[in-house]
Symmetry: C2
Subunit: 272 residues, 2 copies
């Protein structure tokens, strides 16, 4: 039953540790162009990937509370690290508002797509260390085999704009070599920054491997769930996302352009 | 006049945005082996380098307050970013306890060492963007010329242990090319992580350029100031540093070993 304060016109709340979750905003906009989106990026404490479970869970609660003030009809956890280590915290804080995380959506899609049953997953230290992707994929089918690899340098390389740089290629070849030796046919991009490096990753893994972008997967899952609940926004206007951030660094505008391909709208800076 | 609660036996407080400031701890231990050191690393909010001035100043106040609870006889700001953007905040919070920052110490040493009067400085986005090294060097002698370059990938590369990696070499060559074209004879490592990559940097810049490690510079400055104030600890015991952190990630032990070359002692986790 839908929550008493929400309607098809309520916004979809999306949050991430920083700016990476904008890849999810972009995918949701492409899939659901009439939806109002409110996005929170915790730019004052980014990144979450190298931090501990305890700290990530505390941040996840605070991030959810910020979005809840805007009465969303759904919360999308764009951060793979939070999806891996603190989805229960988000669900508890969101009460009866549905919560979906990039991780489960990506895991479900990978399980559907694989033919050989061998799936590779790349992500941050915390996401990979948690083993959450492997668990979520094996929840779908326990015979699937998951080979995971943490790729900590992909986020800073993407943010530095080293998209087609030879240094990025060297790092990516080294990170991916281990996974590629294991005959996977599907590779999950288990971090919101990685779609920025998708071209490079595709060239290294070759055409025989299907890339799963968890951002696209979660957008499809959001559409299905809103439809089921009668909460799709059927208007025809195209809304600009409402952006909240905990810090507004000098580089933000440039990163927004890198992730969204458009100029940055107004941004609201909030204290934590 | 020394503060009423402090004595030669009081600790030296040192803080940094994360673990990088351990290079300062190591330099202070080498220079002042009998001093008790209390170190705070803000590992829950690291890194500061890509964040805004407002946020860095707020964090600097909170970090100083944490150290002040331990009644230090001196505070050393091991973080170049805080030294560049918030030294006044630290001084205000520390009251009559002397505060010294890595930045001024490194700038003074570089100004003394240069022969040609052309000095290169490398650091984080925030440090270089603030122009604080250039100002501090020109405070010593306004005819000195300063050429600066932000090197945002050096911190993640060092933390990933890519010390002698070809990718690090490619990145370093690209970052340093601009500076090397300008005939500097002195290069300041304006970030506490960079001493980890010193070997690589030295090989690229060649023997004609003197490297200034701000960590060593600040340790020398601390010794001189404590001597002047009659606050040197003349004991002969060698103390293990007391470590405080705001987050204790999985990788902390490994990073401690990388920075200090010894096994990690007990660490105290504190809430912010």
């Amino acid at each position: 039953m839908p929550h008493r304060n929400i309607s098809p016109d309520s916004p979809i709340g999306i949050f991430d540790s920083g700016i990476g979750g904008l890849t999810v905003v972009k995918a949701v906009q492409a899939c659901l162009p009439s939806e109002r989106i409110i996005y929170f990026g915790d730019t004052a404490r980014v990144p979450y990937g190298p931090k501990s479970r305890v700290t990530i869970r505390r941040y996840a609660r605070e991030d959810t509370e910020i979005l809840m003030k805007h009465q969303p009809k759904m919360i999308i956890v764009a951060c793979n690290t939070v999806s891996a280590l603190a989805l229960d915290v988000v669900e508890e804080t969101a009460g009866d508002i549905p919560v979906i995380g990039v991780l489960k959506a990506g895991a479900e899609l990978a399980a559907r797509r694989t033919g050989t049953g061998k799936i590779g997953v790349i992500g941050t230290q915390a996401t990979i260390g948690s083993n959450a992707y492997a668990c979520a994929i094996q929840d779908q089918n326990e015979e699937l085999e998951v080979i995971s690899k943490a790729c900590p340098l992909f986020v800073p390389l993407a943010e530095e704009g080293f998209i087609d740089h030879p240094a990025t290629r060297l790092v990516a070849e080294e990170y991916l070599a281990e996974i590629l030796g294991r005959n996977i046919d599907t590779l999950v991009l288990g971090c919101t920054h990685y779609p920025i490096l998708r071209g490079m990753i595709e060239r290294i893994v070759g055409p025989g491997i299907t890339i799963i972008d968890s951002a696209e997967a979660v957008a499809g899952r959001a559409r299905d769930l809103l439809r089921e609940q009668g909460l799709l926004n059927c208007g025809s206007s195209k809304a600009v996302p409402h952006l909240l951030v905990s810090d507004l660094p000098q580089k933000f505008r440039e990163l927004y352009r890198l992730f969204m391909g458009t100029e940055m709208p107004d941004v609201e800076l909030i204290g934590l």
